[in-house]
Symmetry: C2
Subunit: 206 residues, 2 copies
């Protein structure tokens, strides 16, 4: 088995890196920057036709889309509770993963772009503010979801749904998370996991 993850940890590659750490996998990490010219070269476009990171290679299988890669790793490599056994729980994992992609990520990304990512001259404060407002409605949904005291999205167990959503909301503190105590506690719980710590430490390692 040669499992290879392409993309620096300071990119969406943090998601598959975190999943690989949760599953104690041995993997090769190709630290490709998201803006590197290599991402547009034919060899890489065969792995990810979008010319973005991350990409995964696993014994002939090639995948893009970070959240699909974590689902693949969780489903393939066990035993773990990252991917639950119960079919209804599996449906809920897919539901929350899609929710992370469609509801949480777009405003989180718009906010990040217009506060930090873009060159200052291109940042639009009105778009940053609108993103924060849109995100507030989603954070309120999550806060209500955790109102029953459940430690994780599906209940007791940490699953790949928690990993995906917590990674998408990695800047939760800056995104108004402080007004949502149960959501913040869940987020802190996810990021405190040893596997998360190891994955995020890869950012410091360069």
């Amino acid at each position: 088995m040669t499992l290879t993850i392409y993309g620096i940890a300071a990119s969406r590659a943090i998601r598959p890196l975190w999943a690989a750490e949760e599953l104690d996998l041995t993997y090769r990490h190709i630290k490709l920057h998201h803006a590197a010219p290599e991402t547009k070269a034919p060899d890489y476009l065969r792995l990810n036709p979008n010319g973005t990171v991350p990409a995964l290679e696993d014994d002939g299988l090639v995948l893009f889309e970070s959240l699909a890669i974590t689902l693949y790793l969780a489903r393939t490599y066990g035993p773990s509770r990252l991917w639950p056994d119960d079919a209804a729980d599996q449906a809920r994992v897919l539901q929350w993963t899609l929710w992370a992609a469609t509801e949480a990520e777009p405003p989180a990304r718009q906010w990040f772009h217009h506060t930090a990512f873009l060159p200052p001259a291109e940042r639009q404060p009105a778009l940053a503010a609108a993103a924060l407002q849109a995100l507030g409605r989603r954070l309120a949904v999550l806060e209500r979801h955790f109102a029953d005291g459940r430690p994780h999205l599906l209940g007791d167990d940490f699953t790949v749904a928690d990993l995906n959503l917590a990674a998408v909301l990695q800047r939760l503190k800056d995104l108004g998370g402080g007004d949502h105590p149960r959501l913040s506690a869940w987020h802190a719980r996810c990021l405190a996991r040893p596997a998360a710590q190891r994955a995020f430490a890869l950012r410091q390692a360069g």
Copy 2:
């Protein structure tokens, strides 16, 4: 079994409706408008805490996120090729579904909002144009993907990945699809399916 789909066909509910038709399921269709006050009522928020459509109820299981609902239906109700048997193909279905959600839908939605959905005074032509440009890059990725002559995303078989992406790109003709002959042919092939025709006909039925 009481399978219930909430949401008028002229909403993202078209996705689960199409999937249910592909799978020849018997279902109850609650024609809830996406802007109806009932979507914010406690009874409905228990089904979909976002207060949006669609939602699914199936023998005690409750789900939101249209693309997760189609995945659930395809995985649960067989036999069909909507959900492939092969694990690598299943990973590809999830990849293309996430790609539909993260790459295709945001610009397609931004374009629709600023050309048709919002009241005329709120539409911003610059945002519509930017959306079309962003979408153009994604359509080019798809056109290259179909360059080998494959009839569907994964190869020979129509899967729930095709359903999800074709539904997200339902306005492809207006989105510059005409410049992409293989992509357009794939899209027409998907929408010509009898199940798609039955689902889209529900829009006329009101």
